[in-house]
Symmetry: C2
């Protein structure tokens, strides 16, 4: 299978697949014409990566997860630890965003949003 088909199959852009090869996440074979050839295992790995990325794991986490996946002697504790740490970071981020959301929401509601220059949003940003 060529890269275009692999991209369609996994919903990962062609450019991204090439990038994943560049950084050593996948190792597709090469045809005599230089084209990448994707086997089922490569497609499987790409799909794995796609799902891990969709859960917000960093590329380095993905690399580790793939290594763990391929290591038959792994301990599930290692996977769980990684996922828990990531979950904690997501929760932190959500709290941060919720705090921004709350402030912004107040400000937006306090602002008339008309043609006059007076604006509580700017007043807040400029406050000492």
């Amino acid at each position: 299978m060529n890269i275009g088909d692999a991209a369609k199959r996994t919903d990962i852009p062609v450019k991204t697949i090439r990038y994943y090869e560049d950084i050593g996440l996948i190792r597709p074979l090469r045809d005599t014409n230089g084209y990448r050839v994707f086997r089922d295992t490569d497609i499987h790995k790409l799909a794995f990566l796609g799902r891990a990325r969709a859960l917000g794991f960093s590329i380095e986490d993905c690399r580790t997860l793939m290594e763990l996946y391929e290591d038959e002697t792994r301990a599930s504790a290692d996977v769980k630890r990684l996922a828990q740490e990531h979950l904690r970071q997501i929760e932190d981020k959500i709290m941060q965003l919720r705090s921004m959301q709350a402030t912004l929401n107040d400000l937006v509601h306090a602002c008339a949003g008309d043609s006059r220059p007076d604006c509580p949003i700017l007043r807040d940003l400029a406050s000492q």
Copy 2:
């Protein structure tokens, strides 16, 4: 005031302040020795930027907000529109993260986290 004091006063790293000058967000004066000199207005602008960034506005949004702030004939509607659009993006991001959180949470709880290799997290990532 030199850059170090400006940094302390506004809680913005020295490096970041220099970067803000680079991209034209602030225009501190220069002393004869080449050192940047920060007036009260510069400090005020930096603090404004700090608060806007803390609310998650992009640098380009910050630039626009500062222009609006300095334009006495602005319409508050323009500020509100910007803030509302940003609020929408924050809400999108929160929803995305909550969805990740939910999935990850399920997976983490399903995983024994012991020395055995069997792991629902990896099984999910590898699922067809």
